[in-house]
Point group: C2
Chain length 296, copies 2
């Protein structure tokens, strides 16, 4: 399996502190040594750093750890390969463009061949694992179940929305449908980000925290590093951090129940819905023009 | 304007030496201080490093200069903005996926609004410059003429080739048509790369060199750095380097005549064609199964 790290903020924020702990899990304090990657949205643009080397010894990871790139949406991933060889093309996160926007996706889990309509399609060759019937509008470059799932998600969005770019609610609702459907095929923890949102699916394991005023000190679990967020923030800052396993040992991380999908925007969770088979209820969107409501 | 740097090799090769000289032009020895980027193909995967800061002072450029990433196809760009603000989404090179392959594009030049069929299309909004009628399969995220041209090129490839991935000859022929067409609208020097080819269009200014045995010393123009390639190569290595302005002062760079399109594969130019309006002849592909012929 792999580990995921996501960040969604209301002001551009650097992720150096969280990434320091996360990076250590890529071969040092944990076994995820089959590559890593991180994507930073900056406005409409996105920077993706990828390295098939373990993050604990990667010169690029050392740069990311020390170079404060300020972003409102970040997705990072450290890999323990299950499907697909260790190679750059199989290194998460993956990026595509649709509707003139970049989309970023990373997955933790393992998906198996289904017996349903997600059977092997014409464009997926001899693949024996999860291989949805892709129409060619988005195709995987590598051979991971994860990239197939990302392409399937974008294809479903395109089919539903046509030429009109989806809004947050449409993205959430279609991600919800795909999470329910693909989630029957195995573990499907994922992060999906655009320039102004982060969607997180807790299939088996994911936690989050929202840091906001009054800010306090935080201490990493994986390295003896402490930061006093009150020294580096303003009172209006809100930063949501999502991780497979909590990154700090003195903060109150919220466990995201298995089978839940979350939409984060402006540093808070604004929608949540269950994705366990048989449960169809989707939480309504946050109402009103003020601060989004936490539904945790 | 901007500057381009490309590399195409028959074995994975690092570009640290050439990039050292190229990087200096991004705000130190030349004026191209509006960001820079570089893309490295490694197998089917690609790594893109982007920075809207000047390359001469960019920590990411310092990493790329020192970290030998071995690649058979590299595209780099330093920017002097003409169209589009200085922002990450306007930083070259640009990347898209089509047919399950990554495509990389960088442009040096300035394209103007045409009065022909490349007029403003429905999906390009209020843009007053070059704005071809894009159908939505590939759309620009930023607002440079360059990214519009890249999307137009990919759309034309998709229209011509349908669901079947084009081979080198098809890519060259469609790039030739687009270079002739778009080249009437202004300066259109560009590099287009996939995992196993590099196409270069000399609209106004571009040079190349093929380094092969017997290898010799090379000395940068922009920094006092010398490398002895005989110490870092094997006799079978072939490395083609393309640059807006030659990078070394003691090697025999070939000027690519304005209005010529070139296809490089395995470290040598294998096809060349003129793109000046009115000239329709396209050089035939290299024949035979042996070493590709240079047509320069």
């Amino acid at each position: 399996m792999c580990q995921l790290l996501g960040m969604n903020c209301n002001v551009p924020t650097d992720i150096c502190f969280s990434f320091t702990g996360f990076q250590a899990r890529g071969g040092a304090t944990d076994v995820h040594a089959d590559g890593w990657g991180i994507a930073f949205f900056e406005g409409k643009g996105v920077r993706v750093f990828l390295d098939p080397q373990p993050s604990c010894s990667s010169p690029i990871a050392a740069l990311v750890r020390q170079y404060p790139i300020r972003s409102k949406n970040v997705v990072a991933h450290i890999r323990k390969a299950t499907q697909g060889v260790v190679a750059l093309e199989n290194t998460h996160p993956f990026m595509r463009e649709a509707w003139g926007r970049y989309w970023i996706f990373a997955h933790n889990g393992n998906l198996h061949a289904p017996s349903t309509r997600l059977s092997t399609g014409p464009s997926t060759g001899l693949r024996t694992g999860f291989a949805p019937p892709l129409d060619g509008s988005f195709l995987p470059v590598g051979n991971t179940d994860s990239e197939y799932a990302f392409c399937w998600l974008l294809q479903t969005l395109r089919e539903e929305c046509g030429d009109t770019a989806p809004d947050h609610d449409q993205i959430f609702e279609i991600a919800h449908r795909v999470a329910r459907e693909v989630g029957t095929l195995g573990e499907f923890n994922f992060l999906l980000a655009g320039s102004d949102f982060l969607i997180a699916h807790a299939s088996t394991q994911l936690s989050y925290i929202v840091r906001k005023a009054p800010f306090a000190q935080a201490h990493l679990k994986d390295e003896d590093v402490t930061v006093d967020f009150s020294e580096v923030t303003t009172p209006d800052d809100r930063v949501a951090v999502v991780a497979t396993v909590p990154l700090t040992d003195n903060e109150d991380w919220q466990t995201m129940p298995p089978g839940t999908l979350w939409l984060f925007a402006e540093g808070v969770p604004v929608r949540q819905a269950t994705t366990v088979a048989g449960v169809k209820r989707t939480a309504p969107p946050a109402t009103g023009g003020g601060e989004a409501q936490e539904r945790s």
